[in-house]
């Protein structure tokens, strides 16, 4: 906000008087910096793909071990219908788990912040459950919940739950002590302190957890599908591996990565929309 308003005033000042060479130099340098920031990552990705292609070509890697980038692109196109059919359930499981896990984490963080005793009793339990590896939790849940979507959603929810809980508790607790004293001088109630101070304060912490949860939820759903599923990206990955169909395997990986990226993008957009008060460049 500040930067853009400075831009306008300096630009108009430059327009009125003689051309402001210092401003122009600064603007050019800024443009160049922006382009660099966009181009360099693209260069990295392109380089990686070229390297991949070169390794396959030079060492003559067999297609059932690893496909060439082009074979993956061809598969993505040729099998788009079946890929999308399998992406949909995974996306639903991941999204469902994302919502469920994060809502539960936010609710429990709220309880923890208001009741230290409950926090002291249950936080170690949460820690313990988090220490169990994901691939060990998945079969347990499938045994309990059957072969449908429920265990996958639960697994996705579980992996989202922990980072959000930890961050949310921290965000709700790390309130400026003087702001806390201010609320007390103003005789604010616990509810008012929660909604007007703690919750607002926790939002940046929450969103950094949600960005982690965005990709974690997809991982959770895919791992859930490994244990027992006939549809979904996870099931596809297993089938493709058993069939030595490496182009399909890689295509499935691309699909799940794209899904994670999409979730991440959505969270980032939501953050920009909800937190408007942060200084620029502090995201």
């Amino acid at each position: 906000m500040t930067t853009s308003s400075i831009d306008v005033s300096s630009a108009s000042a430059a327009g009125l008087a003689a051309p402001d060479t210092e401003y122009q130099a600064w603007a050019t340098a800024r443009q160049r910096r922006l382009w660099r920031r966009r181009l360099l990552p693209a260069l990295g990705i392109t380089g990686l793909i070229v390297l991949w292609w070169a390794v396959i070509a030079i060492f003559d890697v067999k297609p059932f071990i690893a496909p060439s980038p082009w074979a993956v692109v061809e598969t993505l196109y040729a099998k788009r219908a079946v890929l999308l059919d399998n992406l949909l359930p995974t996306a639903m499981e991941a999204a469902g788990g994302f919502l469920l896990g994060n809502l539960a984490a936010i609710a429990i963080a709220t309880v923890f912040v208001h009741n230290k005793t409950l926090q002291d009793i249950f936080f170690p339990v949460v820690l313990m459950f988090n220490a169990i590896p994901l691939v060990a939790k998945a079969p347990v849940l499938v045994l309990i919940m059957g072969n449908g979507m429920e265990p996958k959603i639960t697994i996705a929810a579980l992996v989202c739950f922990f980072p959000t809980l930890v961050n949310m508790v921290r965000g709700l607790e790390s309130v400026n002590p003087q702001a806390m004293e201010l609320m007390r001088v103003l005789s604010a109630s616990k509810t008012e302190i929660f909604f007007r101070l703690r919750l607002q304060n926790s939002l940046p912490y929450l969103f950094s957890a949600l960005r982690i949860a965005a990709s974690m939820s997809v991982i959770g759903a895919v791992v859930g599908e490994w244990v027992g599923a006939t549809v979904g990206i996870g099931a596809m990955i297993l089938q493709a591996t058993f069939n030595f169909d490496s182009p399909l395997l890689y295509a499935a990986i691309v699909m799940s990565a794209t899904l994670s990226g999409l979730f991440f993008l959505l969270v980032t957009l939501a953050e920009r929309w909800i937190i408007r008060w942060q200084p620029e460049g502090q995201h």
Binding site: N176, E181, L182, R184, V185, L186, E192, Q200, W277
Partner: protein, 260 residues
């Protein structure tokens, strides 16, 4: 000042003591303090670190309960005075809520703790004008300078029209030029509102320039050292700091402070 003559004091404390315990230490922040602050008075509290001046403000604001002694704020308990919204507090770090604009920060006291019923004589907009920030109403705190932030927090403290304004080293982190300007302004705000001010500071010049009396406290344990009356005209500009009377006064304060 007519208000100073008012018989019932704004704050009255007898033998106030404050002791803290931590695992390794037993701190007597205030050993014993007797004090009457008149309504409408501008009292500055001066003393080294650990003399209990911030602790005392927090006792008045009902943020801390004294370990012993009796304190009355506006002829009632600190808690009742707080609940009646008679106390405004300005913190060292302006403690603005970063997700609220300047104006929204000033509006906060009217939105919590049943504050809507205690609308001040001045609206939040008028208060921002009073502290010279009319055109910054919609700015975010991070867009304001340190001095501007502290002005907003003063406007916020005045929003519920308190009778007592407690200021805890509010200008301590500011540069000297900004500090001088704000010193003149807080005197103006005091005169325009008639509020009783307790102002904690580390600066001898600030204490002498602002106060009608300077309360000097000694540290370890915190106790009253001396109350120095300031015999200066009420219409003060920063120029008075060059007068011989002012120089004498600050020299005296410095000598006393060295023994604190």
């Amino acid at each position: 000042m007519a208000a100073v003559m008012n018989a019932t004091p704004a704050i009255s404390c007898r033998d106030i003591g404050m002791r803290f315990f931590t695992e390794r230490r037993d701190v007597t922040a205030i050993k014993s303090l007797d004090l009457d602050v008149a309504q409408g008075e501008f009292l500055t509290l001066l003393g080294p670190s650990g003399c209990g001046k911030s602790t005392f403000l927090r006792v008045v604001a009902d943020l801390l309960e004294p370990s012993r002694g009796r304190i009355e704020v506006l002829s009632t308990s600190p808690m009742a005075a707080r609940k009646n919204r008679d106390i405004g507090f300005v913190f060292q770090d302006a403690a603005l809520l970063p997700w609220r604009t300047a104006l929204q920060n000033v509006e906060l006291p009217l939105q919590v703790g049943g504050g809507a019923s205690r609308k001040g004589r001045r609206s939040p907009k008028e208060l921002l004008e009073l502290v010279g920030l009319k055109d910054k109403a919609n700015a975010w705190p991070h867009e304001l300078s340190g001095g501007q932030r502290q002005r907003v927090s003063i406007a916020r403290a005045l929003a519920s029209d308190p009778k007592i304004l407690l200021m805890d080293e509010p200008f301590g982190a500011l540069d000297e030029i900004t500090r001088d300007r704000l010193n003149e302004e807080i005197r103006r705000v005091w005169k325009e509102t008639g509020v009783t001010i307790l102002f904690v500071t580390h600066s001898i010049h600030e204490a002498a320039f602002l106060g009608q009396r300077v309360l000097m406290l000694a540290a370890n344990p915190g106790r009253l050292r001396e109350i120095v009356p300031v015999d200066m005209p009420e219409d003060r500009t920063l120029d008075i700091r060059e007068t011989p009377e002012f120089v004498r006064l600050t020299a005296h304060l410095r000598r006393v402070l060295e023994t604190c």
